[in-house]
Amino acid sequence: MHKTYFRLIILFILLSPAFRSAAQGIQSDNTVAMIRANYLYQFANYNNWPSDTKNGKFYIGILGNTDLYEIASAKYGAKPIGNQTLEFLSLTNLPQATYLHVLFIDKAMKNELPRIVKELKDKSTLIVTNWEGALATGSHINFKNIDGSIRFEINKKSMEDKKITPGIKILQWAIQ
C-alpha cells in the first residue's frame, strides 16, 4: 500500500511537464556564413582598389547565398570602407548597371564562373569563391575548410592584373 503511495508521488512528479527533461534549444545560426561575412568585410577593408572606383558606395555582391547576404548586410552593411559606405547586394545574376568591388559566387553557382569572369574582364572586381580549384578558373580568393576552420587562398597575380592590391594582412593570413 505505502509502496504504491510512494511510487505514485514520485510518478506524479516525473510526469509533470516541468520535470520532463525537455530538449534544449540548439542555435540555428549559420556559422559558416558568419565567418565568410567577416572575411568579405576584411577583404574590402584591407585590399586596395584603383582610385577611380573610390566614389559612391562600396558594393559587395553575393550570388547564390541568401544566408550570407542576410548576415553580412545585418552586421557589416553601412560600415565605412575608406571614404565609401559598404553595401551588400543579394544577386541571382550579375548586375549590368552596378559596378561591384567584390563578388562572392557560391558553390551552388559554380557553373556561372567562366561566364562571369568573361563579363568582368575589364573591371576591378574581386571574385571570391568557395570550392576546390576555383583559383585556377578565374577566382581571386577562394575559401577552404581546414579541420573545421575556414581559411582562404589567393591568386595574387590575377588580383594585381585587376589593379587590386592585396593588403599585407590578407597576404599574411592567406594559405599557401
Binding site: Y5, F19, Q24, I26, Q27, T31, G148, S149
Partner: protein, 306 residues
C-alpha cells in the same frame, strides 16, 4: 479497499493499545491524542514522555513522536522546504529504528521514513526549477536527504532512476541560467557535468547526449556571434580553432551518440544537420536534411513555426 493512510493509522493505534499499554502511559496518551488530531496536546504529551527515563528508552515512544511531527508537517508545513517538523520527525524515526532491536516498529517506521524521503525528493526537484548560482547547493542538499533516508527505509531500492532524473533537472536549470547570461560559462560547465553524470550512470540516455552536444555547439555559436567589424583576422582564425574543437571534437561526438540511440528524434537529426553544416560536411548535411523531410512526411516530427 482500505486507503494507505487509514491503514497506517489503524496499525498505529493498534500498537498503542496492545504492545506497551502498561509501560508507556504518556506515549499511549499522545498516540490517542494524535489519532484525534489534537496535535498540540499530543506534542505536549510526548514531550512529557521524552522526559521519562523509562518511556524514552522505548523505540515506540520515538516512533509516536516522529509520527506526530510528521502529521503536523503534513498538516501545516507540507509546502515549507525548511520545515522543522519534518526534520524532527526524521530524527525521531531514526532514533526509533536505532532502539528497535526486536524490530517491533521497524516496518512502520520505515514506511514513515519513505514518505518523508519522497517529500525531500519532491522538494529537491522543485528546487531544480528555481535555483540560481547563489543557492545551487539547496536542491543537492534535499536530494542528499532523500538518498540517505530512502537508503535506510528501503535499502534495496535502485536510485539510478532518481539520480538521473535529478541530474537532468539540474542540468536543465543550469542550461537556463546560462541562456540568461551567456557571458558566464560556469552554468554551462555545470550543466555539462550533470549530463555527463547521467550518461555515466546510463549510457543509453539519448537526451543527455543530445543536451551535452547542444551545450558545446551553442558555446561555439555564441563565440561566433561576437565576431564583428572590430575582429582582426588573427582573432577570427583563433576563434575558429576554438570553435572547431567544440563542434568537431565535442558537439559532433555527443550528437552522434544521441543519434545512434534515437535516430528518429527530429531534434537530434536537426542538431546533426547544423553541426555538419558548421563543419561544411555537405554530404552529411544533405543526408540529414533528407532525414528531416522523411520524418516530417511520416508524421514523426513537425517543423517548428516560422
Amino acid at each position: 479497499m482500505i486507503k494507505a493512510p487509514i491503514l497506517f493509522l489503524l496499525s498505529f493505534v493498534l500498537v498503542a493499545f496492545t504492545m506497551n499499554g502498561q509501560e508507556l502511559p504518556l506515549t499511549n496518551a499522545a498516540a490517542v491524542l494524535c489519532q484525534d488530531k489534537q496535535y498540540d496536546a499530543a506534542l505536549a504529551k510526548i514531550e512529557e514522555a521524552k522526559l521519562s527515563k523509562i518511556e524514552s528508552g522505548f523505540p515506540y515512544m520515538w516512533y509516536v513522536d516522529g509520527f506526530i511531527h510528521k502529521e503536523i508537517y503534513k498538516l501545516n508545513e507540507s509546502g515549507n522546504r525548511n520545515s522543522n517538523q519534518r526534520e524532527m520527525a526524521v530524527e525521531s524515526f531514526l532514533k526509533a529504528l536505532e532502539l528497535d532491536k526486536r524490530n517491533e516498529q521497524t516496518a512502520m517506521t520505515k514506511l514513515s521514513l519513505k514518505f518523508l524521503a519522497s517529500s525531500y525528493y519532491n522538494d529537491a526537484l522543485i528546487q531544480t526549477r528555481e535555483f540560481d548560482l547563489t543557492n545551487e547547493q539547496e536542491p543537492e542538499l534535499y536530494f542528499k536527504k532523500f538518498r540517505r533516508l530512502i537508503h535506510i527505509a528501503e535499502p534495496g531500492t535502485s536510485l539510478k532512476k532518481f539520480d538521473n532524473e535529478f541530474n537532468k533537472s539540474m542540468g536543465q536549470r543550469y542550461f537556463q541560467l546560462w541562456q540568461m547570461n551567456i557571458e558566464n560559462d560556469v552554468p554551462a560547465e555545470r550543466a555539462t557535468g550533470k549530463y555527463n553524470e547521467v550518461v555515466r550512470l546510463d549510457s543509453t540516455d539519448s537526451d543527455a547526449f543530445y543536451n551535452i552536444a547542444v551545450i558545446y555547439y551553442n558555446k561555439a555559436v555564441f563565440k561566433y556571434r561576437k565576431i564583428g567589424p572590430d575582429t582582426d583576422i588573427f582573432d577570427l582564425i583563433m576563434t575558429q580553432q576554438d570553435c572547431a574543437e567544440l563542434i568537431k571534437n565535442k558537439a559532433l561526438v555527443n550528437m552522434q551518440r544521441a543519434y545512434k540511440l534515437n535516430a528518429e528524434n527530429g531534434e537530434i537529426v536537426r542538431g546533426l544537420m547544423y553541426i555538419h553544416r558548421a563543419l561544411e560536411h555537405e554530404n552529411d548535411v544533405a543526408y540529414f536534411k533528407a532525414e528531416i523531410e522523411r520524418l516530417v512526411a511520416e508524421g514523426k516530427i513537425t517543423l517548428p513555426q516560422n
